[in-house]
């Protein structure tokens, strides 16, 4: 059970997340929707503690997550894996090592940590990573550099990395916004598959149809606040218009535009010095 209580994050005078309270029982697949700037991303980053809350509390299984520091914070991050819109893989590393990064915090002791810095992983860890890649049909790519993969493949590599953490919770921040429809489907299928294993999934989406199709529960945000929380069937086009003051088609078009505005890929940096 993930409990969020009165969570806020302010940037100056503007509240990106404004007194959000949510209770998410284990095993749910929750879609978070909203127009760009509604605070969806910030909310997920707050849960993972990549961003610090201005006030409020996050509890997981009764444990206060907002107060964690150092080792305990890293352990929490390992428990709630994060998937990003731009995949956030290390472009110049091979796929296998990228997946093994998810294993870093499971290696305890000074020697093991030193070994990770030298890229020394055990055969068991490699087997685990290869099995994860195999599950999502990525096994042949294991030794390729991750920047040679398509967007959909990279996102599935990111899911493999997340699974290596053996998380209880997966936070996916617009995981399919940079993908074409076919790749988007494979990635959403992968997330649904992971959810069926019992992992809670919290996914930011701008495409309402995707939320309706995959999520058992939808949370709508507007200007940092939760304005709807319920079953996707209740979220009719009329309700959307009531919440956001625009039609569903306009909502979709605006979200698509906002996503395109942030470039999907950084150009590979080849020449760097004079």
């Amino acid at each position: 059970m993930l409990e969020i209580e009165g969570l806020s994050r302010r940037f100056g005078a503007k509240a990106a997340v404004d007194r959000v309270s949510l209770r998410i029982p284990a095993g749910q697949m929750v879609g978070v929707i909203g127009r760009s700037g509604a605070g969806k991303s910030t909310l997920l980053r707050l849960v993972n503690r990549l961003a610090e809350p201005s006030e409020g509390q996050i509890r997981f299984e009764g444990r206060d997550v907002t107060a964690l520091r150092g080792r305990a914070l890293r352990d929490w991050r390992t428990e709630c894996a994060m998937i990003f819109q731009q995949f956030n893989l290390v472009q110049r590393l091979d796929v296998l090592t990228n997946v093994l990064i998810g294993r870093l915090n499971h290696r305890h002791g000074f020697l093991a940590r030193l070994g990770s810095l030298l890229c020394q992983f055990s055969p068991e860890e490699r087997a685990m990573a290869l099995a994860a890649l195999d599950r999502f049909d990525l096994l042949p790519t294991a030794l390729q550099r991750s920047d040679t993969l398509s967007g959909g493949q990279q996102q599935r590599v990111a899911i493999c990395r997340a699974l290596m953490q053996q998380p209880r919770l997966i936070l996916a921040d617009e995981p399919i916004a940079s993908l074409d429809p076919r790749n988007a489907r494979t990635v959403m299928d992968a997330l649904a598959q992971v959810n069926r294993d019992g992992i809670t999934v919290l996914v930011n989406l701008h495409h309402l149809d995707t939320a309706r199709e995959y999520c058992g529960r939808v949370v709508a945000m507007q200007q940092g606040r939760v304005v709807f929380d319920g079953a996707p069937s209740e979220l009719s086009p009329a309700r959307i218009t009531q919440i956001y003051g625009i039609t569903e088609a306009e909502f979709q078009a605006e979200a698509a535009l906002a996503v395109k505005a942030s470039p999907a890929f950084d150009m590979p940096r080849q020449t760097a010095l004079a």
């Binding site: 993972n48 990549l50 890293r74 352990d75 929490w76 991050r77 390992t78 894996a81 994060m82 990003f84 731009q86 995949f87 956030n88 893989l89 290390v90 472009q91 110049r92 590393l93 091979d94 090592t97 990064i101 998810g102 870093l104 915090n105 940590r113 990770s116 810095l117 030794l143 550099r145 990111a158 990395r161 997340a162 290596m164 953490q165 950084d266 940096r269 080849q270 760097a272 010095l273």
Partner: protein, 294 residues
């Protein structure tokens, strides 16, 4: 026909001209101030045009002395014949050995300096978010080590460790740490931080994020900076021999002070060739690192 738009257009045109006139005026004043300052600087540092003109022919004189008197007919003759290449480079074997020693000094010093610089660059890169006091400490340390010239370090180390290559290596390594550390840190600051979030979000430590998210992306830059530094260090290692820190520098110092003119040019040519060699190797190495998985 004059639509309301055309008056707006001509107003913009006027504004554009005004702006350009202002900028021109600013530029002119700036250039004038700069010229006055330059003249003052030249006067204070005794950069008198008269002495430059007077001294200029003497450079040519020295150069003509330094240049060998080669004779076309005897070009490929033995070292006994005056005017042959072999006569010019009559001590080629000894020089090559000394140059090799110098290159070794430069290589070891570059490697040592680059290794330390790499470790210090992570905390010295602002974007990676090391605690402020660590950031300040490493930045200032790097500044201190690169501000002091190698030759000063060399004098200290010759005093401490005695005459020889060791003093030279340590001196160059120390200076290299400072010079490369800053460049490395700047290169790391330019790396995109998305993978950093990826590693941190999965529970990786700061060190692991440095290793996995920053190092692979920065590596080609680090390598080419280090190779460039290797070239510079080859030159430094040659000069540093002047204070007794080993290598071809001692020989160069000797031939200059004894006015063995032709040998000066021979040794300098050898150093230039060595630098070219490093440049060509570094380009190949860089290409390979960019393509390869790290």
């Amino acid at each position: 026909m004059h639509a309301p738009g055309s008056t707006a257009i001509s107003a913009q045109e006027a504004a554009f001209r005004d702006l350009r006139r202002q900028r021109r005026a600013t530029t002119l004043v700036g250039v004038a101030v700069l010229a006055v300052l330059l003249a003052a600087a030249a006067w204070m540092s005794e950069f008198h045009p008269a002495s430059v003109v007077a001294g200029f022919p003497r450079i040519g004189e020295y150069l003509s002395k330094v240049l060998p008197s080669l004779e076309w007919a005897n070009l490929l003759a033995g070292p006994e014949t005056e005017g042959s290449l072999a006569f010019w480079f009559y001590r080629l074997d000894a020089w090559l050995l000394l140059l090799f020693e110098t290159a070794q000094m430069a290589a070891i010093a570059t490697l040592m300096g680059a290794a330390v610089a790499m470790l210090l660059a992570f905390p010295a890169a602002k974007t990676l978010g090391a605690p402020n006091w660590v950031f300040q400490l490493t930045r200032r340390l790097l500044e201190a080590t690169r501000t002091v010239p190698e030759i000063v370090f060399a004098l200290i180390f010759v005093w401490a460790f005695g005459v020889g290559a060791l003093a030279g290596i340590l001196a160059i390594a120390l200076h290299t740490t400072g010079a490369l550390g800053k460049l490395f840190a700047d290169a790391m600051e330019n790396v995109e931080l998305r993978p950093w979030d990826g590693v941190r979000a999965s529970g990786g430590t700061w060190f692991e994020a440095c290793r996995f998210a920053v190092l692979p992306a920065a590596l080609p830059d680090l390598l080419s900076y280090a190779m460039l530094r290797f070239e510079v260090n080859l030159r430094s290692a040659s000069v540093i021999g002047f204070v007794g820190a080993g290598g071809i520098g001692e020989e160069l110092y000797k031939v200059i002070s004894f006015n063995y003119y032709e040998e000066i040019s021979a040794i300098i040519l050898l150093i230039i060739f060595a630098v070219m060699l490093i440049d060509m190797t570094s380009e190949r190495l860089r290409r390979r690192v960019i393509e390869v998985v790290t």
